[in-house]
């Protein structure tokens, strides 16, 4: 291990769903601090499953995973929650509180911040994402773009060291998309993003992991990998 912290150390991971559907297999990868990694693959290639494993939400069926060089167990759970921001693919699953303000306050309050501290904490992101006017609205009454902005603001509350985003630009309008891209360009921590949009990858990442439809790693490389049509065709992205 060098000077840089290994944020994720995954070795030979396999995940099988309870109904025996294969989620991901033979996955080994180290992700170092400040890397901006994109998991690129077609639908059903195991991207979302991998992200849940990286966030410590789901335990692999076999293989080993360390997050922040710590094993995934209950003792390390509060540390992971404080340091990992995870945005779900479907905002409807992610937002479950009665109002937008409750959504924003949820994580800080769960982690023991006082109401006053929590309210100060949410202010900056609310202003940045333009959601302050939505405070009293129930989240499920928002448009797709508004939901995504609220969800992203929730994820960023505690300025996480590791940001995991599952298809952050799906089902959103151009304005919200630009806002998200601008934010991600400025973000300084470690980032893992799943997507199948090539132009988006070019704008925000410096490392690409191509996943095959067989739910394995096809190729790891820099963004120059996106110029190789053969690999992209094998990954069924083109």
């Amino acid at each position: 291990m060098g000077d840089t912290l290994n944020i994720i150390e995954a070795s030979n991971i396999k995940y099988v769903y309870p109904d025996k559907t294969l989620g991901v297999k033979n996955f080994s990868l180290d992700i170092q601090e400040f890397e901006r990694l994109v998991l690129l693959g077609s639908n059903g290639s195991g991207k979302s499953t991998l992200l849940k494993i990286f966030a410590g939400l789901v335990k692999p069926t076999s293989g080993n995973i360390k997050i922040f060089e710590k094993r995934v167990n209950r003792d390390n759970y509060p540390y992971f929650r404080k340091n990992i921001g995870f945005l779900f693919q479907n905002s409807d699953d992610f937002l479950f509180n009665p109002t937008v303000e409750d959504e924003l306050l949820y994580t800080p309050l769960q982690l023991g911040f006082s109401t006053e501290e929590a309210k100060n904490l949410i202010l900056e992101n609310s202003n940045y994402f333009g959601i302050k006017k939505l405070y009293e609205k129930p989240p499920f009454r928002l448009s797709g773009g508004e939901k995504k902005r609220v969800a992203l603001a929730c994820v960023l509350q505690l300025n996480p060291r590791l940001l995991i985003l599952d298809e952050p630009t799906s089902n959103i309008d151009g304005k919200t998309r630009k806002k998200i891209i601008d934010f991600l360009k400025e973000y300084e921590g470690t980032m893992i993003i799943s997507t199948h949009e090539i132009d988006f990858v070019k704008k925000i990442s410096n490392k690409v992991v191509l996943l095959s439809p067989e739910k394995e790693i096809l190729k790891i490389g820099g963004i120059e990998l996106l110029e190789d049509k053969n690999y992209l065709e094998d990954a069924e992205i083109l």
Partner: protein, 243 residues
């Protein structure tokens, strides 16, 4: 049948959702408001006297007018309620009397109306905070808050399945076929709700779920509206006792 379920799913989806009504009753402290409304509910369900029930109905109308709750929102929520309750009470028409069934329906309708008005006016987080203030066991409040979160999910999922089914159906089928498909649909529905519930639970965990702390927030205490509300409740109780 399917159209009825679809309408019902839409109806229940919004049943507990607060409407952001700018009501004068919002000036009443929620802690006092909850107690007052509970008194009204108790008065409604503790009598079979038609006089008392009509007196409560009269007070209900006063409350609706004073609170400026839109009649459309109110009737949308409770409009079908008497029919629903009376259907359940139908056996009592033969076992007891039609008068009993009607009065029972009437009093439940009144009780539900008061709860409905309260939930239209008061934001859900304030109701939860009020329950915490009254030291209601936290597990009960947690269950209440989960139910609130999931009730939308359950009916929203049902609605989505029905709409998706409708837009891909091209001809009328026999009843036997429809019932068979309906059974399959029910199975799919349960699996989808379960999976979505599981995803929401994972989202909770990813956001540091810790037995759901809620912050307490109440309106600034204003004596006059609280006093008027308490007098109104007191007069209702006195009228109920006298009748």
């Amino acid at each position: 049948m399917e159209a009825l379920i679809k309408s019902a799913s839409q109806y229940f989806e919004v049943f507990f959702i607060q409407e952001n009504v700018k009501s004068p009753l919002r000036l009443v402290d929620t802690r006092i408001g909850l107690m007052g409304f509970l008194v009204l509910v108790m008065l409604s369900i503790n009598t079979f006297s038609p006089n008392k029930l009509f007196f409560i109905l009269f007070n209900l109308f006063i409350l609706i007018i004073a609170s400026k709750v839109p009649l459309y929102s109110y009737f949308k929520r409770v409009g079908l309620m008497p029919l629903f309750i009376f259907t359940i009470m139908l056996p009592q028409v033969f076992l007891s009397s039609i008068e009993y069934a009607l009065l029972f329906t009437f009093r439940i309708f009144l009780a539900v109306s008061f709860i409905t008005i309260f939930t239209i006016i008061v934001p859900f987080k304030e109701i939860l905070s009020t329950l915490r203030f009254y030291r209601i066991p936290s597990i009960l409040i947690l269950t209440f808050s989960f139910t609130y979160s999931y009730i939308y999910l359950v009916f929203n999922e049902l609605y989505r399945i029905l709409v998706a089914r409708e837009c891909r159906r091209f001809n009328n089928k026999g009843y036997r076929k429809i019932w068979k498909e309906g059974g399959e649909l029910l199975g799919t529905y349960f699996i989808r709700v379960y999976e979505r519930g599981e995803n929401i639970h994972l989202a909770r965990i990813s956001r540091g779920y810790n037995n759901d702390k809620y912050y307490t927030i109440f309106q600034k205490f204003n004596l006059l509206p609280n006093l008027i509300f308490v007098i109104f409740i007191a007069l209702t109780v006195i009228g109920w006792v006298i009748l």
